[in-house]
């Protein structure tokens, strides 16, 4: 620690020449570089220019007072340790200064030893403060880099493995028997699952860091849902499911993040297709009143046992005993729950085993400040609704 303090810059602001000279002599002997100033204005300017390690400030000075200097410097150069010199042993003003962020006070008259001791403590304090700052910055950087790191370091190998699988098929060509092709297919599928797990986990991290739902904008909910439904339709056809859609085109505009909400819809619809046997029905509806917009996704699938309703929203929870065919990351619904929460909405489930499951997503309609225009808008909406 002692080495670090060598040549640290110390500024002394005091109108008494004897104090300035005394401080200089004592501190320079202890290997500090000392700059002095006889008044508040000049001291302030100097301090801003040189950002000293410590500034000793006399509280009682003609012109700009010590307290004013403290006020300004504690904001302008927060890394400088401020120590006040109190001429009239006034504890009251010293306490006041300390409330403003001064590190310590030095009552006049003081001995060289007292001055050296307080300077040393000030330097130690500053070094600790700076170290903490650096550590904090590093920690923040690490956190920020984490996601980039994970996505590159964990996903790329998986992608590369899948690419190798693909080239293996090409290289082996017709030499591969049906069993071998099947094995490659199964490998690829498991790798894909692992990739999904990484992706979902990243999504959850992003929500926790608030970076996923950051682009909330007024959005057309009907359009967003319909786009998701379009995207999922081929899957329904493939699985021989009937798709019933009843989403009014005039759902009220809401403020949200289109991107993440789309993923919620796709997730829930995807689950419904996954857990509904061939020939079943998927029904997607949207309704609204003055306070809420509710979207329901109902299926005629295998259902969820009622004692598991709460657990399904927990990360990594999967209903056991459903076999290999339903393997997922176990993070999808907890993702949905977090996204809904970020939109002040909620997600609920009703289900009966063997009959089907209904997920409902409820959004509160954002309350607009009651202006004349707002009223007109809402009455127009009412009208639109009765028309449809």
């Amino acid at each position: 620690m002692a080495e670090k303090t060598d040549y640290s810059l110390i500024l002394v602001i005091d109108d008494e020449e004897s104090i300035r000279d005394g401080c200089r002599q004592v501190l320079e002997k202890s290997n500090y570089s000392v700059i002095t100033s006889a008044n508040g204005d000049e001291g302030l300017q100097l301090a801003r220019e040189i950002s000293p390690a410590i500034a000793f400030i006399d509280l009682k000075m003609p012109g700009l007072s010590g307290m004013e200097v403290v006020d300004i410097l504690s904001k302008d150069i927060p890394d400088t340790v401020l120590i006040v010199i109190t001429g009239y042993a006034s504890i009251v003003s010293a306490v006041e200064a300390m409330k403003k962020g001064v590190y310590d006070y030095l009552p006049k008259p003081f001995t060289p030893d007292q001055l050296r001791a307080i300077a040393q403590r000030g330097i130690d304090h500053r070094n600790l403060k700076l170290e903490t700052q650096i550590l904090r910055k590093e920690k923040k950087e690490m956190e920020n880099n984490f996601i980039t790191f994970v996505s590159h370091e964990m996903r790329s190998p998986l992608v590369t493995i899948r690419q190798y699988m693909e080239s293996l098929k090409v290289v082996a060509g017709d030499n591969l028997g049906g069993d071998a092709v099947d094995i490659i297919k199964r490998c690829s599928k498991r790798i894909r699952n692992l990739e999904e797990l990484v992706e979902h986990w990243l999504d959850l991290r992003r929500i926790d860091e608030g970076t996923l739902v950051r682009k909330k904008k007024p959005m057309n909910l009907s359009g967003t849902i319909m786009k998701c439904i379009d995207e999922m339709e081929p899957l329904c056809t493939r699985r021989d499911l009937t798709l019933e859609v009843n989403v009014p085109a005039d759902l009220p505009t809401m403020v949200g993040d289109k991107e993440s909400l789309s993923r919620v819809f796709i997730n829930i619809i995807g689950n419904a297709t996954k857990y509904t046997p061939k020939g079943g029905t998927l029904s997607i509806r949207a309704e609204y009143d003055d306070h809420y917009i509710v979207i329901t996704i109902a299926d005629t699938g295998i259902g969820i046992p009622s004692d598991k309703f709460l657990l399904i929203f927990e990360p990594f929870y999967r209903i056991k005993g459903k076999g290999d065919q339903y393997r997922g990351s176990g993070l999808g619904l907890s993702f949905c729950k977090k996204i809904m929460k970020a939109h002040d909405g909620r997600i609920e489930v009703a289900s009966e085993e063997g009959k089907g499951t209904t997920f409902s997503l409820t959004f509160s309609r954002q309350t607009h400040p009651v202006t004349k225009r707002g009223k007109e808008e809402s009455s127009a909406r009412e009208k639109g609704r009765t028309d449809s």
Binding site: R155, V159, Q163, E166
Partner: protein, 142 residues
């Protein structure tokens, strides 16, 4: 270098010249895996593991197509390589495929090519299905 040249000559005699494809990706394994697929499709493959040597190779071998990973070292590096290629003499018309391992969603959305970003002929997502890749490459090298 010599061996490649003689090989090329031999094959030229056999049938018409092979189309040259340059792969630029900092993942050597990904390069190898993709190379195998493209070679099976009858192309001659050159590989570069970073943008700088990729650009050098474009100058020296003048490929018929370049496939560039967008996420080398830093995200978006691929786009930088693309702009450099486009500013090369004759680089304007070189067919380019850019590869991305993420689906340009979420926080990466801002990297969606804008009007100012250099034009590529195609954006494909990793991993590449063998027949898709061969079909697209075939299209672009016609």
């Amino acid at each position: 270098m010599m061996t490649t040249k003689t090989k090329k000559k031999k094959k030229k005699k056999k049938k018409k010249k092979k189309k040259k494809i340059l792969l630029i990706d900092d993942d050597r394994d990904f390069l190898m895996a993709t190379k195998v697929i493209l070679e099976k499709g009858g192309y001659e493959i050159f590989m570069a593991e970073d943008g700088k040597s990729g650009i050098e190779m474009i100058k020296s071998i003048s490929p018929d197509l370049a496939i560039i990973d967008m996420m080398m070292e830093t995200w978006g590096e691929g786009f930088n390589v693309v702009s450099r290629i486009r500013s090369l003499e004759g680089g304007k018309d070189l067919p380019l495929i850019i590869l991305s391992a993420v689906d340009l969603q979420g926080p990466y959305q801002s990297f969606e090519p804008s009007d100012e970003s250099p034009t590529v002929n195609m954006v494909l997502h990793k991993p590449l299905k063998a027949d898709d890749l061969l079909r697209y490459v075939d299209q672009l090298t016609q």
